[in-house]
Subunit: 369 residues, 2 copies
Amino acid sequence: MTPKAITDAERRDRLRLSRTETVGAVTAAALMRRFGSAKHVLDALPDLARRGGRTAPLKVCTTAEADRELEAGAGLGARLITAGEPDFPAQLAALDPPPPLLWALGHVDLLSRPAIAIVGARIASAGGQRFARQLALELGQAGYVIASGMARGIDGAAHEGSLATGTIAVLGGGVDDVYPSEHAGLYRRIVDAGVVVSENMVGRKARAMDFPRRNRIISGLSLGVVVVEAELRSGSLITARLAGEQGRDVFAVPGSPLDPRARGTNDLIRQGAVLCEGAGDVIEVLQRPLRLREQGDLFDAAPTDHDGLDRETERLRERVFALVSPTPAPIDEIVRALAAPAPPIFAALVELSLAGRVELLPGGLVAKA
Amino acid sequence: MTPKAITDAERRDRLRLSRTETVGAVTAAALMRRFGSAKHVLDALPDLARRGGRTAPLKVCTTAEADRELEAGAGLGARLITAGEPDFPAQLAALDPPPPLLWALGHVDLLSRPAIAIVGARIASAGGQRFARQLALELGQAGYVIASGMARGIDGAAHEGSLATGTIAVLGGGVDDVYPSEHAGLYRRIVDAGVVVSENMVGRKARAMDFPRRNRIISGLSLGVVVVEAELRSGSLITARLAGEQGRDVFAVPGSPLDPRARGTNDLIRQGAVLCEGAGDVIEVLQRPLRLREQGDLFDAAPTDHDGLDRETERLRERVFALVSPTPAPIDEIVRALAAPAPPIFAALVELSLAGRVELLPGGLVAKA
């Protein structure tokens, strides 16, 4: 689709939609596709949730609450960019679903340049940090913006190395959540020379549950992810896995078997990640023809015939719900099991998710909530 | 073929054949296939060389010279085993061509057990040597004999780690050529507990030109080769390449890009070698069904119709020679260029090689000498 400019009111409605309980990225994208604008979605939301089987009324984010977040963001000098707007990063827009919105503080234009993520261990070796800094510097000189998570260790070194050429810090909390505290100086330099982004609410401190979504944005913003040092079962490996699922290239820096911080990266190489000994290895792979997928038709669809869909949905809804289990399963399976057209089944699932009865997950999966 | 026992006289004749100028492994194998025994080959040799275009008479290794080598070997307590004998290592016999013979000093029975080669840098890090020693120990405990080249660094550590479970040192010089001198103690312990082997003449000091053949035996004896530390363009990488050409598994231990001794191993991984962080990675690959190729029919063929072949060969020989250039080229290409049957062309090449006019190389290649 062609991204298009929107009104401030529509942007605020998209913020309200995103901040409403039981509305995740999958649900938001599905509803935007169905109703065409956040305003129409918000109008329909309580009714959809009730039909999905919700007894307590759905607590929709109010205009006042959204205005408070918008004012807090404006106070920082941050910008809210929603999926489908021209400034929304193209690589992120290509995700299914894309994050519904992004707060950006600093040089927003960096988000439209090709980016490479460099991530790794928080407790990194001196050599690992030196390598990350140098890699960020060389990739920056080659024209790539560097994305990372502003964590201790490798992340911090990657930002340091790319301050002069372009650096993107993706935070788990709001764009004003400076963590760890010893990175306060680095944070200020990134805001000055680079850009800080977050999907989370302005003013919100990061919690453990925020990091998977944060990691998904780091990889999603990037053409490829380089993992510099990582133990087995570490967050960097999750970012690498997400990158693979998003069709992005995964690079890993090898290390001695005697170094526990190389376990994760060596394992990635064993699983097919590209072995990275320097910027050349990354550039060589990325200079293959770009594989950026066409953006979907998220906000382009004309509003659908609600009443017709609703009648079918009503009949189908409980049959659909009966097929959902606590283990995430592909929605396709439910469609096959019911031998019915997919759109009404999907509409039923969206309503069930608004009611908090099922959870729609990235990758076309659904689970009982 | 079924290996078969031979007389001492035939063994001595095979030694004489191997020690005769212009007779390499390819030529020896071809002549043994054609004439069925070394005795018959030796009888035909001067005539074949003359027909190949040799003007000076071919200097065939004499019985006396062979006896001197046999006595020197016996004096050490070493055994001569020729290709096709029951004790000749099966993995080596599967090579095309196999080394024509092997001197073995120590526990010859170790040569019939499954072996893994561990090789690497002479100037190795302490960590690399510790890793090699531990890897050899664990692979030894898993039932594998360890083969290496008794060089400084990784090789020495691999032997140390496998003295108790079985170790094979393959030397570039004769089985009595102790090099480097600081490995004199290790050499004695290998002779006591393991086995020292060499294709080279007893009493011969290793020269630079001996090491490629030595490396070919290290990899040829083994199901797989593990490279522990190696700079780019090092001998260990040649052994790894030979192993790949011989259809053996190649393993490489990764290392930090900041360590020059990891350049070669990281590059091997990039080229498809199995990443090795410990014995488990090697065992997992080798426990796949064994791919040891059937031994060829090197010494089984009935003697062929010499006269018929000879007449064709005579006509073809100069046309064949005209097609050979100083750059090694596949014999197949010559066969295609002449659009003639392959056996007489090959016979012509063998005679040309005995005459010192062409050189037959492993891999089915030929070059002008």
